[in-house]
Amino acid sequence: MKSNPIANLGNTGLYVLTDLGRMTLFLLKAFRGIFRKPFRFKELVRQVNFIGVGSLSVIFFTAASTGLVLGLQGYYSLNKFGAEGMLGSAVSLTLIMELGPVLTALMVAGRAGSAMCAELGIMRISEQIDALDCMAVDPFRYLITPKFIAALISVPLLTVIFDVVGIAGGYVAGVSLMDVSPGSYIEGMRSSVTNHDIRLGIIKSFVFALLVVWICTGRGYFVREIRGAGFGAESVSRVTTQAVVLSSISVLVFDYLLTAVLL
């Protein structure tokens, strides 16, 4: 059959609207699960362990290397103006307001988000989610809500750890490897970082956590409904890739929007 471009456009538009509606209902049902009994506290602890504790090493190494690079690059740039004393301020503000929340969310999306998406996708294609429905067990309360709460607890905490490790990396690069004085690094940071900056970073980390867990669990849950995903194991792999890409792009877009609105 010859394809009609206008019909294709209409179909795509309808698909996008349907998908948005489906994902919005998914989000509402995930939050409704908080108020449904019995609450799965053990599962919540397991998910915090998986998303939070399990991501500690990757967050530590990413933060350390980012801090070291920021320290060296910052020193190189500031040295040209004789402003090496501002290194502490530059490194800490960059990490707390931008790189900390963004890189933490991207790392969590790549490590835990992909795993959550694949897990739910496999559960869907092997009828495990249908089995929950048939036992009159709410799959949102049972599977999705603990992941949402765990992400909202873990990602902001990981962001704080990222900031601290990154600032320490910048200190090592600036003070130990270059000739910035320890006092000016610490004082620059103390004098320039305000509560507003820290609040902005934390708000961002909550929003990014929600975006990552929402997109990754939602894509896995709806693996059969995703257009072009195919069937079986292939559909899970494609949807997992799509979830990581989509959540990463969403984090970057929302980073700009939040910065523009809250700065």
């Binding site: 559960m123 495990q128 249908d130 089995a131 429905d133 048939c134 036992m135 009159a136 067990v137 049972y142």
Partner: protein, 260 residues
């Protein structure tokens, strides 16, 4: 005879990618008698699984009414849908056991989630059930460590925990060798005589399943034919039924086919 499930003029269509509409159920009506075994058979894409999904409220019909135990459950949602589902036990094609849970945890799941029983009571009931389904000593194994037949038995044990009034079996012997399939059917028969539930079996394994059937429904391109006994099928003069008998039942009934 009272009906456990009744379909009244139920239709279900799906939109295809090329914009056309595929009719899977075309205004079908049938009833499934309580306490008996009904087999739903038909070729691939004939609407067997769709019928089960409509019964369970996993899919909605485009038109018509569905009655379960005399109650109209068409379009049921929320608490009503939950109440409907508690009447059913389902054994899925692939058993649908939870990969990350042990055999014990899989069987205990409906009790933990749907009842207020203590862990001790749950433990006693699950162990008794595992003994009944010859799964002693496998409590701590994960589904990946079980054979296909054992997975089916765990799935059946799990489905039986809340003592359902109606058991739905979706292609229950897919992937099993003939000996294991026979064992599973014997287990179904034994369990049904013990618990007295209504059985609905969707299957391709026609010759073996017909020994269990009290009533047979054959789906074909949106329509259906209902037979009050398996033997009645071989006397049908409808070409698609005769073709179905030849294709699926081979030697068992072919020799009795009446030439038209």
């Amino acid at each position: 005879m009272t009906s456990a499930i009744e379909f009244i003029d139920v239709s279900k269509t799906f939109a295809k990618k090329d914009g056309t509409v595929q009719t899977v159920l075309d205004s079908v009506s049938f009833s499934i008698p309580a306490g008996k075994t009904t087999v739903i058979a038909g070729g691939s894409g004939s609407g067997k699984s769709v019928t089960l999904k409509i019964v369970l409220g996993l899919m909605r019909a485009n038109s018509g009414r569905v009655l379960v135990q005399g109650n109209d459950v068409t379009g049921a949602k929320g608490k009503e849908l939950e109440a409907l589902r508690t009447q059913f036990g389902v054994l899925f094609q692939g058993s649908a056991l939870f990969d990350s849970l042990t055999v014990f945890e899989n069987v205990a799941l409906p009790l933990r989630e749907r009842t207020k029983k203590t862990e001790e009571e749950i433990g006693n009931q699950v162990h008794a059930s595992l003994s009944q389904f010859e799964l002693d000593g496998h409590e701590d194994k994960y589904p990946a460590q079980l054979s296909g037949g054992m997975k089916k038995r765990v799935g059946l044990a799990r489905a039986m925990q809340l003592k359902p009034a109606i058991m739905l079996f979706d292609e229950p012997t897919t992937g099993l060798d003939p000996v294991m399939a026979q064992e599973i059917y014997q287990l179904f028969a034994k369990t049904q005589s013990e618990f007295g539930f209504t059985s609905v079996i969707v299957s391709h394994d026609i010759p073996k399943i017909f020994n269990l059937a009290d009533r047979v429904i054959i789906l074909n391109r949106g329509s259906m034919d209902v037979f009050s006994s398996p033997e009645e099928i071989q006397w049908s003069e409808k070409p698609h039924i005769r073709e179905f008998v030849k294709m699926t039942m081979g030697d068992i009934y072919q020799s009795h086919l009446v030439e038209i």
